[in-house]
Amino acid sequence: MVENHTHHKETFITKYIFSQDHKMISKQYLITGLLMGIVGIGMSLVFRMQLAWPEKPFGFFESFLGKWAPDGVMDPNVYLALITIHGTIMVFFVLTAGLSGTFSNLLIPLQIGARDMASGFLNMLSYWLFFLSSVVMIASLFVESGPAAAGWTVYPPLSALPQAQPGSGLGMTLWLVSMAIFVASSLLASLNYIVTVINLRTKGMSMTRLPLTIWAFFVTAIIGVISFPVLLSAALLLIMDRSFGTSFFLSDIFIQGEVLHYQGGSPVLYEHLFWFLGHPEVYIVLLPALGITSEVLATNSRKPIFGYRAMVASILAIAFLSTIVWGHHMFISGMNPFLGSVFTFTTLLIAIPSAVKAFNYITTLWKGNLQMNTAMLFSIGLVSTFITGGLTGLILGDSALDINVHDTYFVVAHFHLVMGISALYGLFAGVYHWFPKMFGRMMNKNLGYIHFWITAVCAYGIFFPMHFTGMAGLPRRYYSNTAFPYFDDLADINIVITIFALTAGAAQIVFLYNFINSIFYGKKAVQNPWKSNTLEWTAPVKHIHGNWIGEIPTVHRWAYDYSKPGHKDDFIPQNIPLFKGEEELQH
């Protein structure tokens, strides 16, 4: 019996374009995110080549950069534009919208047992605003004066004054407009996630029975609602300074032979506003990846996640602390040193819940029966890079030590490992794990293994050596180090890093091939391929409006009854009632 009360007559447009179905919106987010990812990663390969071979002309630079790379040698302004757009795209468009947008949309209704999001219309609107902001961002690449080039943090006055660099002209306006639209999209999405998780849980799905994925998405949405509006205010004030002559962030400026009229503003104010979003943003990117990892590790270890309560508590602790640590990006910005002390204290506190998470993941593997599916490999990889990258945070979070590594390649190594690579691994783990749910087909596992192993080796190959260039004193965002003979001995390291980067880029082609090929020709998926406990696998393979045929499943247990003694199967889905004499764990 098919319950049809939610089923309207569908046209191509309502089904594939202006869809209000969370499963379709999730696919739209994923595919847009992947396309933006190709642009963002592609840019990083181009500027890595510039860094490795700074004086060497590359013919193809000229063919697609045109006047920006005369005779194949890149212009410094283009280098700055590339790193700026790379950072923006990867942080916001790939790892916020692409990761959170895809999996929050797919999993929140399916894992809590809801027919759809609380508001399908707002959900659709949030995707299309995201799409619009992506279009504006990409459009800024084709502007005469070039895209934004002040670094992804776009600190004024550099970003406020078109005289300071060509990228601060129309390109910066488009950047700000794009981000303003992005924030609107993100807020609509986050509010929807929060309302859905609070109100639409199925019968029996208490908060303490929620899978950790949902906890992560839920808390991420809350952090987003708290911090994204502050970025919007910063962007709006910057637009005012740029276009309407206000002086929020500007004061006492002499540029291009001219004294400007700005009086009384402070760039440090902008830094505070930006990082009030910017730091929570790290956890907006990371928490969903950790949530996905919790689910994938437990399922593939055939074991309950270790320390469920501690995992929830550490998500909440990280979320709370993430909003009071932004100042560690500003130790040497000229703010009061006493504030530096406070932020050092709160920052290092975050290491405690992070350590708890890492240890609990490791213990989840202990005495498991590990099924090495591709998603599992990426999740183990995530724990590895999360530890490697997280540990160097102890140095950067310590204001005294930060003085000498601030804004060097040491920082680049740290945040790429701990939030870039880790979150990307979370995205890949999620795609491999829920591909059968999204597309009804399986991805090829051997191509997945090739993808993982090459990526894993290269991730360390790229970012580990950067700790050394950073501790050698090399600043980030340098177009080339040839202006300093002192850094001549770093040329070799830069070549090694670039070779690893190019190899890693090639490995992503394997993934893209596997992804696209599997959508059309992959093996048809069974309903619950990974023998998982969560509710999404009780829904039919073929997508229908309302997710379940007939009644919504009722939940009787937590999501982690794997290999429970006294049962034949090594998994018991959440909708299976307690067996006679079985006791539910108290959580």
Partner: protein
């Protein structure tokens, strides 16, 4: 170097080829057996082993990096507070390496040891309050120690008290170069503002207010000289965008913010000449000159000019992205004995002399 690259490429090729044969093998013989695309015991087995091998890769790569690139790291600190920063840095680094070694070992060993088998049953374990308490409290204690040590240093570094002994120097940033201003005989820097930059046909390089008598004996230079063993209090200004004055050899950095004055202070403890003589710097300079010599050979062969041999000097770099030539915004710093410094500064033109 080339050997390393070939080595790396070979490993990657080997992995790729081996994996490809795996696909070939599976697609040739195992079609009817298993095309579920779900990991089977064989996949679990070799991926588990690869996980263990990956631990080896992490260890070897770490050792290799220290061995091959250990000498590119910054030499000993040339400032007094920097010596203490370095100690804390290496204590933290040792701790990090220790935790990294242990946790990566456990993670990858478990991935290998408990790789799945049909016959294996996972151990149902949900909580262990004592274990979780231990690994909450241990990081907390270690962090408390680190926080305490770090804050103690931070406070002593940033607590800048004006005193008669100290030399006050203004570092002035603009796209894309640095200038330095000394207070002159009266020991007081004159008032300054960007509004005065256009006075005297551009000769007023850092915008000194000529109506302030304190400013007339100020000295503006393009090369930063510092006396050894005397505290230097830096005042930072910028005329256009954010810059950051980064003096890595002195473990010193501070942003230069338009419309605002920022401060940093340190006491240099090694002259330029003394730093050049340290064994680590001699080794580094020799290596750099070898690289430059090899490059020059190629340049000469192409009929271009050879590179000058390199001699070490302390650097002031810009470390906050500031535009196209950000990567080349630098100033030389010279640390010398007090008497040499006094001699040098007495030879410089004062502001009054410049604008005459």
């Amino acid at each position: 170097m080339n050997t390393l690259l070939i080595f790396v490429v070979l490993i990657l090729v080997a992995i790729a080829v081996w994996q490809l044969t795996k696909i070939f093998e599976l697609s040739q013989f195992n079609i009817k057996k298993d095309d579920s695309q779900i990991a089977n015991d064989k996949d679990n087995d070799y991926n588990g082993k690869l996980m263990f091998a990956f631990l080896g890769f992490i260890y070897l790569f770490t050792i290799f990096s220290f061995w091959e690139w250990g000498e590119v790291l910054l030499p000993r600190s040339a400032s007094e507070h920097g010596v203490e920063i370095d100690t804390l840095m290496w204590v933290s680094m040792a701790l990090i390496l220790f935790v990294q070694t242990i946790t990566q070992a456990v993670l990858h060993y478990f991935s290998y040891r408990y790789r799945g088998k049909k016959t294996q049953i996972a151990f149902f374990l949900t909580d262990n309050d004592r274990l979780e308490f231990i690994w909450t409290i241990i990081p907390a204690i270690v962090l408390a120690v680190l926080i305490f040590a770090g804050l103690f240093q931070w406070t002593s570094i940033t607590n800048i008290e004006n005193n008669d002994e100290a030399l006050v120097v203004e570092v002035y940033a603009q796209q894309f170069n640095w200038k330095a201003r000394y207070a002159g005989a009266d020991g007081v820097l004159g008032d300054a503002n960007v509004r005065f930059l256009q006075d005297f046909d551009g000769l007023n390089l850092v915008g000194i207010d000529s109506s302030d008598p304190n400013g007339l004996d100020d000295i503006v230079v393009q090369e930063l000289h510092l006396p050894k063993g005397r505290e230097v209090i830096f005042i930072f200004r910028s005329q256009d965008v954010l810059h950051s004055a980064f003096m890595p050899h002195f473990r010193a950095q501070m942003n230069c913010v338009p419309g605002m004055i920022t401060e940093f202070a340190f006491t240099p403890n090694l002259t330029t000449e003394e730093m050049r003589q340290t064994p680590e710097m001699t080794a580094k300079v020799n290596k750099i000159n070898k690289i430059r010599f090899d490059k020059s050979q190629k340049l000469i062969a192409n009929g271009e000019q050879a590179l000058d041999p390199y001699q070490f000097d302390y650097l002031l770099l810009c470390n906050k992205v500031c535009g196209a030539s950000h990567y080349n915004m630098q100033m030389k710093i010279i640390v010398e004995e007090e008497k040499d410094f006094n001699k040098w500064i007495s030879e410089q033109k004062t502001f009054a002399q410049t604008i005459q």
